[in-house]
Amino acid sequence: MHVRVRGLREWALLLLGAGAGCGRAAPTGLIEVTFPGSVVGAEGTVLRRQLGRFMASHPGIRVVQRETPDAADQRHQLYVQWLNAGASDPDILQLDVVWTPEFAAAGWILPLDRFSPDTAAFFPATLAANRWRDSLFALPWFVDVGMLYWRTDLAAAPPATFDQLDSIAQRARAERGLPYGLVWQGARYEGLVTTFLEYLGGYGGRILDGNRVVVGSGAGLAALTKMEDELYRLGIVPPAALTWHEEETRFAFQNGQAAFMRNWPYAYGLMQDSSSSAVAGRFAVAPMPATADGAPTAALGGSQLAVNRNSEHPEAAWAVIDFLTEPEQMRERAGVVGQFPTRVALYDDPGLAASLGIPPAEARRVIERAVPRPVTPVYTQLSEILQIHLHRALTRQEEPADALAAAQGEMQRLLDRAGLGAGASGATR
């Protein structure tokens, strides 16, 4: 398989080179670096504009965009095939937040410390997610956080605890006739894990403690039991949510059917449009609720930029990353595609308030609660195990305690098999 991929890749490169009439090293001494990413829509436009400005200010470097799929899974698969084959192209990689440790442990991306990035300027959690074995491997480009959307016409203030949320939701159902109290992403996919992670943090639990899986702890059980109660005993989360992704929850909340929603920031701008939204001007965002044992928690998502270890021009690649993560570029992105900047100082910038849909102070409150998902090279596989058992518990095929115990056992075995379990030290590069 991987031999064939390498072959195809080389052929493709040859053809590309022949077609474009230029190799990787242009004769004029111009350095060429490649940047994979979306080339369509507003995101493609803003990126093209920024790369154009970069080339104008760096006349020695030419940045070529490589079209890659927008779907995260497909992009990941493509990256893995390229990097596993030792390709030097693309030079820059746009990573999902949970991929950095995987790519770092595999030795596919360069540690960025030698470029001495300005780490003090970024939210600490966004950097923590990009560290592996004490080195920084990617720079956070924009940040995504899970947040609680609440209706300002149904409550005076956002709930601080899960019990408060439940009672407001029940009252909204009883007195206002709302079909649902709370909606979240409950289908068997990554979204379910991010929802669970926020409940778990609220109860003071975590998934990993160093090399040990601890999701089966008392806090884990309390969090999962709460989710199950909200589905069946309290009836505030519709069972249909167990098939829902982000958009189905947004439709329910936007149509005024739910008192609360757990979702990412993208929904905010869309639901302020009164031509399609029944709740425009009647909602706000807050950190997720918590209990006395834990703290409000936001699952951390977003995009990072990293340098391919086999890149022939790492300095030029870094120059592009450095440029794209400058405040000016982040502010522009926030305005055009509504993505949250990763630099703390920008949230005090009046310019950001004008361009971002969400009031920057509200956004910042949530981002400061952000917690990375387990920082491990095998996160995706761990998450798959957890997704299956969480979904079995919530669809009542397994008792919550059994589901978490089984998940913990399987996840620990996976870590051990990967050489990352308890007792493992320098198994990875």
Partner: protein, 305 residues
């Protein structure tokens, strides 16, 4: 009284030409069928985890196979595959036979009906899977609307969060899509039966059931077996329909072997383990095919009398 020598030379020459002529075809088969199969076998006895490249690619013997055999998710995927295969193929065969018998009669507009019956078969599986997913949607699906209006259900049912009810749209979608295929295969078989046999049976006093039982069924057996082979092997490798309809959920309770293998190979990029699963699936389908060919071959020989 030709001398033997030149004739033998000619034969040898012809054989040489023949080999040269079939060489491209043989080469193609080796390249596209044998080579990937051997490669998969080779991968299946190695640890090859693209997402854990630090583990290297050591030879691990039958470890990947043992892991599969010890994994409850593998066994439940096998059970789901068998359940799906037996139920959907059984229903398709029964309904397809009924349809074929109906279409075999002379009536006005028979040509139109025969063409119309093929429409579900012509729709790409992914599209029809999406159609059925929308129809069985818990909130807006037509299935719930009809069942609630008829009084069968008191409240809308969320089909995809119960292990048993998630199978309903899956099986229905497959039956809806492939019954026409079975029906047309059987119809072709029916049209090969000599009408004079029915005449003779009638003269002997056989009723409709006896005619069906003792004339139609035995003579239709080869066509039924062909339909069974195609459908069983297809159903055993079911992937796209379930991938789109349920994603294998809730939990993993509708996950067939092909989806589990896809997951190991292409989601988790575990080439060694995924290849071992592929080899197991290949082994089972190959055994099924052999079994059917033996049955079919025996029947054809018997049919010649």
């Amino acid at each position: 009284m030709r001398p033997a020598e030149p004739a033998a030379g000619l034969e040898r020459e012809e054989a040489r030409v023949a080999w040269r002529l079939v060489l491209p075809a043989l080469g193609t088969i080796v390249l596209v069928a044998l080579f990937p199969l051997m490669w998969t076998l080779w991968e299946s006895v190695h640890l090859h985890d693209l997402r854990m490249p630090w583990l290297g690619r050591p030879f691990v013997g039958v470890d990947n196979y043992l892991e599969a055999l010890r994994d409850p998710r593998f066994w439940s995927a096998l059970a789901h595959t068998l359940l799906f295969t037996v139920t959907s193929v059984g229903l398709e065969l029964g309904l397809g036979l009924g349809l074929a018998l109906a279409m075999n009669r002379g009536f006005r507009g028979r040509g139109v009906v025969r063409a119309a019956v093929l429409i579900p078969w012509a729709i790409p599986t992914v599209v029809s899977a999406l159609l059925w997913r929308f129809m069985f949607d818990g909130q807006t699906g037509i299935a719930n609307a009809v069942l609630v209006n008829l009084g069968v259900l008191r409240a809308p049912h969320v089909w995809f969060i119960h292990a048993w009810s998630a199978w309903v749209p899956v099986i229905l979608a497959d039956v809806w899509k492939t019954t026409p295929f079975v029906a047309l295969l059987l119809l072709a078989g029916l049209q090969n039966i000599d009408p004079s046999l029915y005449e003779a049976a009638r003269i002997d006093g056989a009723g409709a059931w006896r005619q069906f039982r003792y004339v139609t069924l035995p003579l239709l057996a080869p066509a039924i077996l062909v339909a069974l082979i195609f459908r069983t092997l297809d159903a055993f490798r079911v992937f796209d329909l379930i991938y789109v309809l349920t994603g294998g959920g809730p939990g993993t309770s509708t996950e067939p072997l092909a989806l589990y293998t896809f997951n190991a190979l292409l989601q988790n990029l575990r080439f060694g383990y995924g290849s071992a699963l592929s080899v197991i699936v290949f082994g089972i389908t190959f055994a099924l095919a052999l079994l059917y060919i033996r049955l079919l071959g025996a029947d054809l020989v018997g049919g010649k009398r």
